[in-house]
């Protein structure tokens, strides 16, 4: 069964109150949603609390999910986005970034792999993802790659324009084109988002 079909089955079971299906849904999507929350909040502890909040909302509002509006993962991201914006508003704080995804330096990548982590398996998997991402980023024109890397570590588009000395409109164009190319590349190469 492919991912979206499996997700739909899980959602149907969650609506019926199936806790095991809810756990499975969490296992399938929590990591990537969490990474998004870490990027936005710049704080793992806050991101963990928001992840919990987002999934509680998913549990409560599972009956409102409509497949015609998008895949389950997109729906979960929408909830996480809403939760994150609400938190940012209430904290009246700016988002902060974290570490680079597109680290090209092999030695630094190895050192990062060696960082303490919840488990070597997860860290090793992260290393695999990182290598895949670097390969995909390598296929972008340098300008597009640069703005995406800066964006990934927490810069806004205005801040990227200022720091790279390019017009804001140009940065926005590079950003859109770069994200589109990157998405296409990752889809073409079967990048695993989990």
């Amino acid at each position: 069964m492919d991912g979206p079909k499996h997700d739909q089955e899980l959602i149907d079971r969650v609506v019926a109150g199936d806790l095991e299906a809810f756990e499975a849904l969490y296992d399938r999507h929590a990591d990537v949603v969490f990474r998004y929350l870490v990027r936005v909040m710049g704080d793992r502890q806050i991101a963990e609390n928001l992840l919990q909040e987002a999934f509680v909302r998913a549990w409560r509002h599972a009956p409102t999910y409509r497949a015609e509006r998008g895949q389950v993962r997109s729906w979960l991201f929408g909830i996480a986005h809403h939760v994150a914006l609400h938190e940012l508003r209430s904290q009246r704080r700016r988002p902060q970034g974290i570490q680079l995804a597109g680290d090209r330096d092999a030695q630094a990548a190895v050192e990062r792999v060696r960082e303490p982590a919840p488990g070597p398996a997860e860290a090793a998997w992260a290393a695999v993802r990182r290598a895949d991402l670097v390969r995909a980023l390598d296929q972008l024109p340098p300008n597009q790659r640069q703005v995406i890397e800066l964006y990934a570590i927490g810069y806004t588009q205005s801040e990227i324009a200022t720091s790279t000395d390019h017009p804001l409109g140009t940065v926005k164009t590079w950003m859109r084109r770069g994200l589109l190319h990157l998405r296409e590349t990752l889809e073409r190469e079967g990048f695993d988002a989990t």
């Binding site: 019926a16 969490y26 990027r39 909302r57 409560r60 488990g119 860290a123 990182r130 950003m175």
Partner: protein, 266 residues
């Protein structure tokens, strides 16, 4: 769509990257939110962007305590309401998960060069320490001729720990660094679908993942098998196991179930 609306639409598309990470002021955010209500392409663009941000951000997964707290909370709700509901609910209050402490982290353990008897003893001590070993398995380990025949004077014992998908699995990889063979012993692995097998992966320092063969766990989730690497084990920095199609995969396609470091400072 008229010209003015098109301009607004294009402007909003360009603002989405900042909207996605909450970097816009409240007025601009509300403007975009209203536009999104009526614009399916922009909604699609936003959801794709949110996923892309998740992909681009590199961080370790949330701690298992987060899931445990979530499930406890939802189970409590389930006891009072037998099914998920759309009825208004109070704003969810997260169960506070204690901040990570150094003891929460699994730190790579340095291997030691061990004689035969010490290698066996260390393997058992490590596994007892991981809390997932049992007496019957110790007996199996003691009695296995493959172990006695394998471990030499320079054997290294590397602990393998579980991932979030496989608690409380644990194991060890016993290696002779200059050899391309190793002994993998694991216990408590989760059941996998009948059309899948366990596949062993070796990771190089540059992130390449090399298959080291397929394994089958017994009904208790126990694996005790020699693995064959394409090159001496000293060329790899980590080992892991994932569930793959029965014929094997060219690279891991599912999350890893068990993994450990093969420190290079030997």
């Amino acid at each position: 769509m008229n010209g003015e609306a098109t301009t607004a639409h294009e402007d909003i598309l360009e603002m989405l990257p900042d909207y996605a990470v909450g970097a816009l002021d409240e007025g601009a955010s509300e403007l975009i939110a209203r536009h999104l209500d009526d614009c399916a392409p922009c909604r699609d663009e936003l959801t794709a962007l949110l996923e892309m941000i998740g992909l681009l951000t590199v961080t370790v997964p949330p701690r298992p305590e987060v899931k445990a707290a979530l499930i406890a909370r939802v189970a409590a709700e389930l006891r009072t309401a037998p099914a998920a509901t759309t009825s208004p609910a109070p704003d969810p209050t997260p169960i506070e998960v204690a901040p990570a402490s150094p003891s929460d982290r699994v730190r790579p353990m340095r291997p030691a060069r061990l004689p035969l008897w010490a290698g066996l003893a260390a393997a058992l001590i490590l596994l007892v320490g991981l809390g997932a070993w049992n007496l019957s398995l110790q007996r199996q380990l003691d009695e296995r001729p493959s172990v006695d025949g394998f471990i030499g004077d320079t054997a290294e014992v590397h602990p393998l720990t579980d991932s979030q998908l496989s608690p409380p699995a644990s194991g060890v990889l016993i290696v002779e660094p200059e050899s391309d063979e190793a002994l993998l012993i694991a216990h408590g692995l989760p059941a996998i679908p009948a059309d899948q097998r366990l596949q062993v992966w070796l990771f190089t320092a540059t992130g390449e993942r090399i298959s080291a063969g397929l394994l089958t766990a017994n009904q208790d989730g126990h694996v005790d098998s020699r693995i064959q690497a394409p090159a001496p084990l000293e060329n790899y920095v980590a080992v892991a196991i994932s569930a793959e199609a029965a014929a094997g995969s060219s690279s891991p396609t599912t999350q890893l179930l068990l993994g450990g470091w093969l420190p290079a400072d030997r």
